[in-house]
């Protein structure tokens, strides 16, 4: 029993030296901003992909196929080594904030491809008969889209969008290659300096993510069921 309480004591001293909550908070911030960025970019891409204009459709498809098949790590390394160090594209004079912004851009660019597909799959859940019925009662393009198609499409897109958001939350750890002070980097530092409590450190960070991720999963599942279109 003594060794257990000793282990616990040294775990506590490790927690005092390093601020785990602050690191996880950085991940949450990254999730929020990159979520916003990828939602905007992904919606534009989805609109391009479902538009009747071939060049827009083609450009949207090219974007999705390129970025969905590229590892996020490459995109992130590219943002830092190429955009910042080689091409000197600085977004802020503050060194750390510059990296933070580039990490958000890298995450947004990658996840926009998945957001686009989520929204598109939402549009695909709407049966053709809905649009035909809208036409039959005399609605023109915009009212039909606004009143009939899009409300159903958004509801169908909630579940896949939620999955993308969860993937994004976990992928914010990759921002560690952009030397953003987030959880994965801190965990590495903590284990290197306090290898005696390696298990407890991993458990702490893992549980931190479980606590962040599970509610998002439950919430989006609940929302998608509550708002599901009964067909």
């Amino acid at each position: 029993m003594d060794s257990l309480s000793e282990y616990f004591q040294s775990y506590l001293t490790a927690l005092e030296t390093y601020d785990v909550v602050a690191a996880l908070w950085v991940n949450i911030q990254l999730t929020f901003w990159a979520g916003l960025g990828s939602l905007v970019l992904g919606t534009v891409l989805a609109l391009m992909r479902i538009s009747p204009v071939p060049s827009f459709r083609w450009a949207g498809a090219a974007y999705v196929n390129i970025f969905r098949n590229t590892p996020l790590t490459i995109i992130m390394v590219f943002c830092i080594l190429v955009a910042v160090f080689q091409l000197q594209l600085n977004l802020s004079s503050d060194f750390d904030f510059n990296f933070f912004l580039w990490a958000i851009i890298g995450l947004s660019v990658y996840h926009a491809a998945f957001v686009c597909e989520a929204i598109r799959s939402g549009v695909n859940t709407v049966p053709l008969g809905q649009a035909e019925a809208a036409r039959a009662i005399g609605l023109s393009f915009l009212p039909a889209a606004r009143l009939i198609v899009l409300p159903q499409a958004f509801r169908g897109a909630i579940a896949p969008l939620g999955n993308t958001l969860i993937a994004l939350t976990k992928n914010t750890t990759v921002a560690t290659v952009a030397s953003v002070a987030e959880a994965a980097g801190l965990m590495k530092t903590m284990i290197e300096f306090r290898p005696d409590v390696i298990m407890a450190i991993f458990a702490t960070f893992a549980l931190g993510f479980v606590v962040i991720v599970i509610p998002i999963g439950l919430l989006t599942t609940w929302l998608s069921k509550k708002l599901a279109v009964a067909r």
Binding site: V53, V82, A159, I214
Partner: protein, 287 residues
């Protein structure tokens, strides 16, 4: 070309066709303009200089950088694919089990490893193995990559197995029961074989995820393709090296996705389940 692309638009009449044509030309101009702008910017920075790109066409770079990197990527991905399929089958059946304890334990393991970022697990197992000294120190990054990829993707595959079995028509199990099989027998002999065929396209989509995530290994010093190219590019042609690495990944993953789609059409008639590639939700749909 089909007359109807989307639920949003009617088949265009002559006026709409004219409008689409004009927007199309405008769109082409915009995208070409954007591409020209980027290329001009790169040209001004000297990034398009031929001597920066030509090394990637020489046998030396392929022999000493690209191919060894690709080999390591494939090695880690192949090992992780095999182990995660085994892991997935084991825990997928665990989650389908009617034994409360087995079901419960499998559920917790699957949900936990789906919620933890792969990179966290990679760093943890890499440092843990280094500390425990049970494998060659030089091999710790490899095992770190494979273990982390297995735990995450195995859990996702377990979920695919479960949803594959649930996606089968009820009559399949009932037929098994009717000829006197136990639940386990019907699961193993009737449901799982069909579910596996049905989930094959989704499984291949998951292999794409494994291949992509193996690039995370570069962070824990596993010398796969990205890391090899990063080291090569650090002497100067970093933009070019990373672009080549990205293009290689895109080609491989695109081919795999294409195979998945082709399989889903090919297998559609061979199983009672749905073969459309789906990706299992990355976390707890219902706990």
């Amino acid at each position: 070309m089909t007359t109807r692309q989307s639920v949003l638009f009617d088949a265009p009449g002559p006026k709409a066709q004219r409008r689409i044509l004009i927007t199309n030309i405008l769109g082409v101009l915009i995208f070409l303009g954007a591409a020209a702008f980027v290329l001009k910017g790169l040209y001004d920075q000297g990034q398009l200089a031929p001597e920066l790109w030509s090394p990637f066409l020489t046998a030396d770079v392929w022999q000493f950088t690209i191919l060894p990197g690709l080999m390591n990527t494939f090695k880690a991905a192949a090992a992780a694919i095999v182990t995660s399929v085994v892991f997935g089958l084991l825990f997928g059946m665990g989650r389908l089990s009617h034994n409360k304890a087995i079901n419960w334990i499998s559920s917790i393991i699957v949900e936990f490893f789906r919620a933890v970022p792969v990179l966290l697990m990679m760093i943890f197992f890499w440092l843990l193995l280094g500390r425990m000294q049970i494998v060659e120190p030089a091999d710790t990054p490899f095992y770190g990559v494979v273990i982390a990829l297995t735990l995450y993707n195995g859990s996702v595959i377990a979920e695919l197995v479960r949803s594959g079995v649930h996606g089968l028509p009820k009559g399949q199990r009932e037929a098994g029961m009717a000829i006197g099989m136990t639940r386990g027998q019907s699961l193993r002999n009737i449901e799982l074989p069909q579910a596996l065929v049905a989930m094959l396209p989704s499984l291949i989509s998951q292999f794409v995820v494994i291949l992509k995530d193996s690039a995370l290994g570069s962070i824990i010093s596993y010398s796969e393709l990205l890391r090899a190219m990063q080291i090569y590019g650090s002497a100067g042609p970093i933009l070019q090296a990373l672009t080549v690495a990205a293009v290689l990944f895109i080609i491989i993953n695109f081919t795999l996705s294409w195979v998945a789609n082709w399989l889903s059409r090919f297998l559609g008639s061979r199983t009672a389940g749905k073969t459309k590639p789906i990706s299992a939700p990355p976390v707890a749909a219902k706990v």
